[in-house]
C-alpha cells in the first residue's frame, strides 16, 4: 500500500485548517479548523505507521485525541466566557489589545 495518497490528503486537510484559522473571524470556526489540523496530523501518522511497519504512529494518535479533548474543554470554556460578555464570538470584536 502506498502512503502517498493519504499523505496528500493529510497535507490538504492541514492546509484547509490553516487557511480556516487565518481567514475565518469566528472563534468557534477557527477552533474547529485547529481540530482539523490536529486530525490531519493523525492521518499522516497512521499512514506513516503503515508505511514504516511500526505501531508508534498509531499509538501517538491516541495521545493526540486525548490532548485534543483536553484542548476542547479549555478552549470552549474561554470562548463561552467571551460570548457571554460580548454576545459574539467574532475575533474582530475582541480588539481591545490591538495597537
Amino acid at each position: 500500500m502506498s502512503p502517498e495518497y493519504y499523505l496528500f490528503l493529510a497535507v490538504l486537510l492541514f492546509a484547509i485548517g490553516t487557511v480556516g484559522v487565518m481567514v475565518r473571524r469566528n472563534a468557534l470556526i477557527a477552533f474547529m479548523s485547529v481540530e482539523l489540523m490536529l486530525n490531519a496530523a493523525n492521518l499522516a501518522m497512521v499512514a506513516f505507521a503503515m508505511a514504516r511497519g511500526g505501531l508508534d504512529g498509531q499509538v501517538a494518535t491516541f495521545f493526540v485525541m486525548v490532548v485534543a479533548a483536553a484542548e476542547v474543554v479549555v478552549g470552549l470554556s474561554i470562548i463561552i466566557v467571551i460570548y457571554r460578555t460580548r454576545r459574539s464570538t467574532s475575533m474582530d470584536a475582541a480588539s481591545l489589545l490591538k495597537l
Binding site: A41, F48, G75, M91, A94
Partner: protein, 519 residues
C-alpha cells in the same frame, strides 16, 4: 515486534516531577473537600510543600549521581535537566508567592472573584462582595509547572507534545482570570489559546513528518536516521520547519511574537511573571535539546534559519520596546528581545557541538537564570506600583517613583540594568557568555548584530530608570505596602542579580560541568 512489554519506570530519579504533579492533584482535592474559608491557606501549604519536596528530592538525586535515559526512553535525566528542573522549581516557587499576595489589593488576590461571571454583572458583584477567590490558580500553575519539567527533559516527540500541552492549557486559563480589566484579560486568553493551539498543531504536523522520516519518535532514532537516511531529505526539512514554528512560538521569537505583548498585558501580573520566566525557560530548554540531540547532525540546514530568526527577534524586540508607553508591554518586548539573544547562543552552539558542546548550553542556562531573577523581581515591583484603579502600567505614572521610594526605585533600576546587560549585573555575564559561545561557533557577524542590538536596548531600560528618578512625580500613584510574599521575590531577584554579576564563577563552573545532553 508487536508484543507489548511491561513498561519500566524509575520512580526515585523522576520523583521531583511526580512531587509537583502530586501536589497539583492534592490541590484539586483540596478544592473539593476543604471549606472555602480555609482553601487559600491549604493551597499555599500544598504548593510550598510540593515544590520544596521536589527541590529536596532533586538535590538528593543530584548528589546520588542518578542520571540516564528513563521511563522507556522518553525522559533524559542529565546535567541540563537537573539545572533546568532546579531553576524551574525556584522560579515557580517565587512566582507563586506573588500569586498569593493579598495585601496589595485590600485583602483580595490578583485573580477574579468569579472568572466565569460576566464582567460588571450582578453575579460578579455578589462574588466580590462574598470575597470569593479562585484558589484553583495554584493547582493550575502546578500542573503547568509539571508539564514544563517534562518538556525540558523529553527525548521522545510524543512525550514532548503531551508535555507541551500540559504546560500550555493551564496557562490559557490563568491568563483570563485577572481581577481588574477583565475584558482585556479574557481577550488575552482567547488570543493566547487560538494562537497557541495553532502553533501546537504546526508542531504536531511537523512531528508526524519527522516520524515519517525517521520511523520513530525517539530523538536518538531521529539522529540515527539523519546520519543514515532511508527516506528523502524533504520530509526532514519540512518537519524541522513546522516543529520550529511550534517551539519558537512558545519562546516568543519573531515572527511568532504577536501574542507576547497582548497576553503579557492582559494576564494578571503574577501570571505574566510566571509565563515570562518559566514558559520561556521550558521552551528554550526543549528547543535546545531537540535541535542539539535529534538534529545535531543536520545543523547545516537549520542553523541559517535560526540565525535569521535570532536577528529578526533582537531587532524587532528592541525597536518596538523603544516606542512603548506601558510598562508591561515594554517588559513584553524586552522578553522578545531576550529570546533573540538566547537564540544567538542556540545558533552558535551547534558548531561548537563538534568538539566542545559545553559552552553553548551552559551559556543559555546562565542567561536564563540571570534573566529569570531579574524578571521575577521586575514583575513583582509592577504589582506594587498602584493608583486608585489598581496597578499603574503607564510609564508616565512611574515618574518620580525612585525619589519617593528609594529602595524600590534602586532595586528596579538594578533589574533594568541587568536586562540592559550593564557590567556588575547577572545580565552582563549572561550576555557575555552567550556572545562568546556564538563567537566560538563561528558566527561573528551574529555577535556584532547582537552587541548593537543590546546597545540600543540599553537606551530603552535607561529611559525608564531616568523617568523614575529625574521626572516630576505623577498624581495619585504610589508604591503600595506589600507583604513578604511580594517582598521576598523582589529581594531574591535583586540579590541573585548582583551575586550572578559579581561572583559568576561558581555558578558558571556548575553549569559548564553539567551541560552535556545525554544522548
Amino acid at each position: 515486534m508487536n508484543q507489548i512489554a511491561t513498561p519500566t519506570f524509575e520512580w526515585m530519579p523522576l520523583a521531583p516531577v511526580l512531587a509537583v504533579l502530586l501536589a497539583a492533584c492534592v490541590g484539586v482535592v483540596v478544592e473539593a473537600l476543604v471549606p472555602r474559608a480555609y482553601r487559600f491557606v491549604s493551597q499555599l501549604g500544598v504548593v510550598a510543600l510540593g515544590l520544596l519536596a521536589a527541590l529536596g528530592l532533586l538535590i538528593v538525586n543530584y548528589f546520588a549521581h542518578s542520571s540516564g535515559i528513563m521511563a522507556m526512553g522518553s525522559i533524559s535525566l542529565d546535567g541540563p535537566t537537573y539545572l533546568m528542573w532546579g531553576s524551574l522549581l525556584v522560579f515557580g516557587l517565587l512566582s507563586m508567592m506573588v500569586f498569593a499576595e493579598r495585601t496589595l489589593n485590600n485583602g483580595a488576590s490578583a485573580f477574579a472573584a468569579s472568572a466565569a461571571s460576566v464582567p460588571g454583572s450582578v453575579a460578579e458583584a455578589e462574588a466580590t462582595a462574598a470575597r470569593h477567590e479562585h484558589t484553583e490558580v495554584f493547582p493550575l500553575a502546578l500542573f503547568s509547572l509539571s508539564g514544563m519539567m517534562v518538556f525540558v527533559s523529553a527525548t521522545d516527540l510524543i512525550t514532548a507534545f503531551v508535555a507541551l500541552e500540559v504546560m500550555s492549557l493551564p496557562l490559557y486559563l490563568l491568563s483570563g482570570m485577572a481581577r481588574r480589566r477583565r475584558l482585556l484579560s479574557q481577550e488575552a486568553a482567547l488570543k493566547y489559546f487560538l494562537l497557541g493551539a495553532l502553533s501546537s498543531a504546526f508542531f504536531l504536523f511537523g512531528m508526524a513528518l519527522m516520524y515519517g522520516y525517521a520511523g520513530s519518535f525517539d530523538y536518538r532514532a531521529i539522529d540515527a536516521a539523519v546520519l543514515a537516511p532511508t527516506y528523502g531529505h524533504g520530509l526532514l526539512l519540512v518537519g524541522t520547519g513546522l516543529m520550529a514554528v511550534g517551539l519558537l512560538f512558545k519562546i516568543g521569537a519573531v515572527p511568532f511574537h504577536n501574542w507576547v505583548p497582548d497576553v503579557y498585558v492582559g494576564s494578571p501580573t503574577p501570571v505574566t511573571s510566571f509565563m515570562a520566566i518559566c514558559t520561556k525557560l521550558a521552551a528554550v530548554g526543549a528547543t535546545a535539546r531537540f535541535f542539539f540531540v535529534a538534529l545535531g547532525a543536520d545543523r547545516w540546514s537549520w542553523q541559517p534559519m535560526i540565525a535569521v530568526i535570532a536577528v529578526l527577534t533582537m531587532i524587532v524586540g528592541v525597536v518596538l520596546a523603544m516606542s512603548q508607553t506601558d510598562i508591561k508591554r515594554l517588559l513584553a518586548y524586552s522578553s522578545v528581545s531576550h529570546a533573540g539573544f538566547i537564540l544567538v547562543a542556540v545558533v552558535g552552539a551547534t558548531v561548537a557541538t563538534a568538539n566542545d558542546p559545553a559552552s553553548s548550553v551552559a551559556s543559555i542556562l546562565f542567561y536564563l537564570l540571570a534573566y529569570g531573577f531579574a524578571t521575577v523581581g521586575a514583575f513583582a515591583i509592577v504589582t506594587m506600583v498602584r493608583n486608585s484603579a489598581g496597578e499603574a502600567h503607564d510609564i508616565d505614572s512611574w515618574s518620580g517613583i525612585g525619589r519617593s521610594n528609594p529602595v524600590i526605585g534602586a532595586v528596579f533600576a538594578l533589574l533594568m540594568l541587568s536586562f540592559a546587560g550593564i557590567p556588575l549585573t547577572g545580565g552582563f555575564i549572561g550576555k557575555w557568555e552567550v556572545f562568546a559561545s556564538a563567537w566560538e561557533g563561528g558566527y561573528a557577524w551574529l555577535v556584532v548584530v547582537a552587541v548593537m542590538a543590546s546597545l540600543v536596548a540599553a537606551y530603552v531600560y535607561l529611559k525608564v530608570v531616568v523617568r523614575m528618578f529625574f521626572a516630576e512625580s505623577a498624581e495619585g500613584v504610589s508604591v503600595a505596602k506589600a507583604s513578604l510574599l511580594t517582598l521576598v521575590p523582589i529581594g531574591v531577584g535583586a540579590v541573585a542579580t548582583l551575586y550572578l554579576g559579581l561572583f559568576p564563577g561558581p555558578v558558571l563552573d556548575l553549569m559548564t560541568a553539567s551541560s552535556v545532553f545525554l544522548r
